[in-house]
């Protein structure tokens, strides 16, 4: 009797357990308690979403009355849209989550379009695209932040030409934004039109990037935040003399990318020809005089003990746990820099390890030194965000559907929902009526990486919230012993002052492909790494001879070919000009 009961109980228990398990799997919800009200709220946001719109009904009334160009298709159109996969723990799958489904419901179903997102690993964009193109699965929309990449697709024929008139007819708001942002000069390559461009708010200041210095050390040696190179060296010398750290105080790393931070070292105004030849993210501008000045200063600093003799053993990538970051976190170095967000893990770790420390934001004038660096100069961003093109294999309907997506997404109310989520669930309204996103929310409706930026990048490069002050307040690090909101705002105005003087500009953009660059850039990057280390570590008296020797080697290894080709493109009018 007992055994039979026990068996029945076990059976019941098992069935129950399976039911629970099935329920857990189907909702796939890690926190059911908090999620229950959330899904109810979601239902109120999008009530009509679940029923597909029948054809006869849509013919009568447009799904978006304010956007008459968004007319439903007769038959189903399928488009594929790339989305970066950053493999962050704690986020849902980038190609299938609440927000991809939201777009399908709110946009796709109403216009008879299937929107499929394709995950592109962020660290391996070009390979993934190459394979997709070879596999006949080119995404309808192809987009990247870097011009050389989209240029490669256009050159190889993977990307088709863009009829801007047709584009403007379907996506009038988007086109108007391009006109307003003065971007029509960037749509062409080799004399043909390929690209649409998304907006980049406040592009000529790098206000999301900040350098932090040890305020407490400066206080101890009686110095303020250095506003010139003379003040900087005086402060560092005092810090070394005081023995505030047992390591070299200036944390730098081996250059990991072709970007040479030589902007401040250029003469004002910079020569336009030289700028076209050498200012680049694709190939290091070694053998150009600003790079020489930079290296000469670095060499002096190395020989004064500012820089660790092992600095070349770790790269200078931001993000990622590097030695420079670890040293700063452990309170061994003077400064560290990075992009700002509501949570910055290295800042949190820094304060945990150094509870008594105090930080300040470095001045943009720290590099200024008469005779070497005349005034602060900064590398502005491109005046556009994503460079968007369309697959050469896409049909007219598919292209049109893609343009509709861009047009729809740009509408302020749509963007508001995509970037903030559901009120009361993913965000709350602050005192000023602006949304405050709950970064820790982990329910179904949670936003993807950086407020869905990898979806909304199709229309703009960063989220705008009200004024610049409010935008900065949203990205200022929270939960730290110090609040940097005001410091970051001040920093923005300092940067803006530099930009207003005309000292913020970007690199030239080429409307033709530079073939020698794709051939040699990888080789030249590794040479640059080797040479920059050699020139930093050599004795000051050896610098000149070594520099002459290595410059020549660098030019011979392919750089001469690249700059010749760039110059030719410039003389043929295939490059952008310096802003006047």
């Amino acid at each position: 009797m007992f055994i039979r009961n026990a068996r029945r109980f076990t059976a019941f228990f098992l069935a129950f357990a399976m039911l629970v398990l099935a329920a857990a799997c189907s909702t796939n919800d890690p926190a059911p308690a908090t999620a229950a009200p959330a899904s109810a709220a979601a239902a109120t946001v999008a009530p009509a979403a679940s029923e597909p719109a029948p054809a006869e009904e849509t013919a009568a009334a447009l799904p978006f009355p304010n956007q008459p160009t968004l007319v439903p298709f007769e038959s189903r159109v399928h488009i594929t849209v790339p989305v970066y996969d950053r493999s962050k723990e704690g986020y849902p799958a980038v190609d299938d989550n609440y927000w991809t489904q939201y777009i399908q419901k709110e946009f796709g179903d109403k216009l008879n379009i299937d929107v499929e997102y394709v995950a592109i690993p962020r660290g391996d964009v070009m390979t993934k695209y190459s394979l997709l193109i070879a596999g006949n699965e080119t995404p309808t929309i192809m987009m990247e932040y870097d011009y050389p990449k989209v240029a490669q697709w256009a050159n190889d024929g993977a990307m088709g030409e863009l009829d801007l008139n047709a584009f403007a007819a379907t996506a009038p708001t988007y086109y108007q934004a391009m006109v307003d942002n003065n971007q029509l000069g960037y749509t062409d390559l080799n004399g043909k039109t390929y690209f649409a461009l998304s907006e980049r708010p406040y592009y000529n200041t790098t206000f999301t990037y900040a350098t932090f210095v040890r305020k407490d050390w400066l206080d101890k040696v009686g110095a303020g935040v250095p506003k010139s190179y003379a003040e900087f060296t005086a402060a560092i010398d005092a810090i070394i003399a005081e023995g505030l750290t047992d390591k070299a105080p200036k944390g730098i790393g081996l250059p990991s990318a072709a970007y040479v931070k030589n902007f401040p070292f250029r003469d004002i105004p910079v020569d336009e020809k030289e700028w076209v030849m050498h200012s680049s993210l694709g190939t290091p501008g070694f053998s150009w005089y600003p790079t020489e000045r930079l290296l000469r200063r670095q060499n002096a600093e190395f020989n004064k003990g500012y820089i660790s003799s092992e600095y070349d053993l770790d790269s200078d990538t931001t993000g990622g746990t590097t030695q420079i970051q670890t040293d700063f976190i452990n309170g061994k170095t003077f400064s560290y820099e990075g992009y700002m967000a509501a949570t910055v893990d290295w800042l949190s770790a820094f304060y945990q390890n150094n509870p008594d420390a105090e930080l300040a934001i470095a001045s943009v004038y720290q590099e200024v030194e008469p005779g070497v660096v005349a005034d602060a100069q900064i590398r502005a961003d491109n005046p556009f965000g994503m460079i968007v093109g369309f697959s050469s294999k896409a049909t007219d309907d598919e292209k049109k559907a893609a343009w509709m997506l861009m047009e729809w997404m740009l509408q302020p109310d749509v963007l508001y929902v995509l970037e903030n989520g559901v009120e009361g669930v993913t965000f709350t309204l602050g005192a000023d009526g602006l949304p405050v996103v709950d970064a820790d929310y982990r329910g179904t409706e949670m936003l993807n990486h950086n407020n869905n930026i990898d979806m909304t990048c199709l229309v703009h490069a960063s989220k705008k919230i009200g004024t610049i002050e409010q935008t900065i307040a949203a990205i200022a690090p929270k939960g730290l012993p110090q609040d940097f909101t005001q410091a970051l705002i001040d920093n923005y105005y300092d940067l803006k002052a530099v930009a207003d003087k005309g000292n913020a500009y970007s690199d030239p953009i080429f409307a033709v492909a530079i073939d020698s660059e794709s051939e040699y850039s990888a080789t030249l990057l590794s040479l640059w790494q080797e040479y920059s280390v050699a020139l930093t570590k050599c004795k000051p008296e050896e610098f000149d001879a070594l520099y002459a020797d290595l410059s020549k080697k660098f030019l011979d290894a392919g750089y001469q070919e690249i700059i010749d080709e760039r110059l030719e493109a410039y003389e043929n009018g295939f490059t952008t000009k310096l802003p006047k």
């Binding site: 070009m126 390979t127 490669q152 190889d156 092992e310 770790d314």
Partner: protein, 313 residues
Amino acid sequence: MNEAIKPDTLLKRTLRVLSRDWQLYFLLLLPLAFVVVFKYAAYPGLRIAFLDYKPARGFEGSPFVGFDIFQKIFKDADFLKALRNSLTFNFLDLLVGFPLPIVLAIMLNEIRFKTFKRVSQTILYLPHFLSWVIVASVAYALFKPESGLVNILLVNLGFIDSGIPFLTEKWHWAVSYLLIGVWQGLGWGTIIYLAAITGISSELYEAATVDGAGRLGRIWHVTLPGIRPTMVTLLIMNLGRITGSNFERLDSLANVQVTEFQYQLAIYTYQKGLAGGNFSRATAVGLFQSAVGFLLVLAADRVSKKLGESGLI
């Protein structure tokens, strides 16, 4: 075999063979289907190496360029560097990685404490259960010059003044790369030799003991000759891979300071072929690797047969 083949006897014999062994042929269909569908069917794709192939254009739209791609590759300094590195490191891998599992297998075979032996075997297999990305992340955590735990320990114990750049200086990296590779495959590599040792007749050991051979004598005169066929087979097989390298291993142990040595053919193919969208070049390098590997195997097989070994084919 020697008679002139008459049609009727051939037919008759075929029928007899089929009626007797059709089930064996039937079984072979499945594996043959696998190699035909997934391997042989890919060979026509090798013509990409002779086309100026662009993914967006497809086969039809890509012009035939003969051996142009190969000529370009052999003039490319990066390719020559990659080839040199691949040959050097695979040769060293073979030199270090090939004998060590044999030595370890013999040592394990000599252990007489069963529990110790079983536990140690299990532990020695452990590294093989880790994928390369894991092995590399552990390696970096341990061997970074300043923040690596091994270096921290050595500095704290006063053995060295500053960290050893195990993975961040090219010569050190070369050694680390080889040793990590050996470490990862060492225990696992013993399995096949232990199995081979199993096959050695116990009488041979007894006879050797009777003849007065010590432990080393028995290893030298019985164990090693006993596993020689296995060694030869594996050696020939490994020779076929002398130009190929494990992309996962190279990629995960990469860092900017060691590209000088780390830049091998697998990386070259990936960087200049795939990421650059240059599929013709990637395919041409692959074809070159396959051809070299295949020829080496054939040659090694010939040599081994000349030397009286059974060879592979």
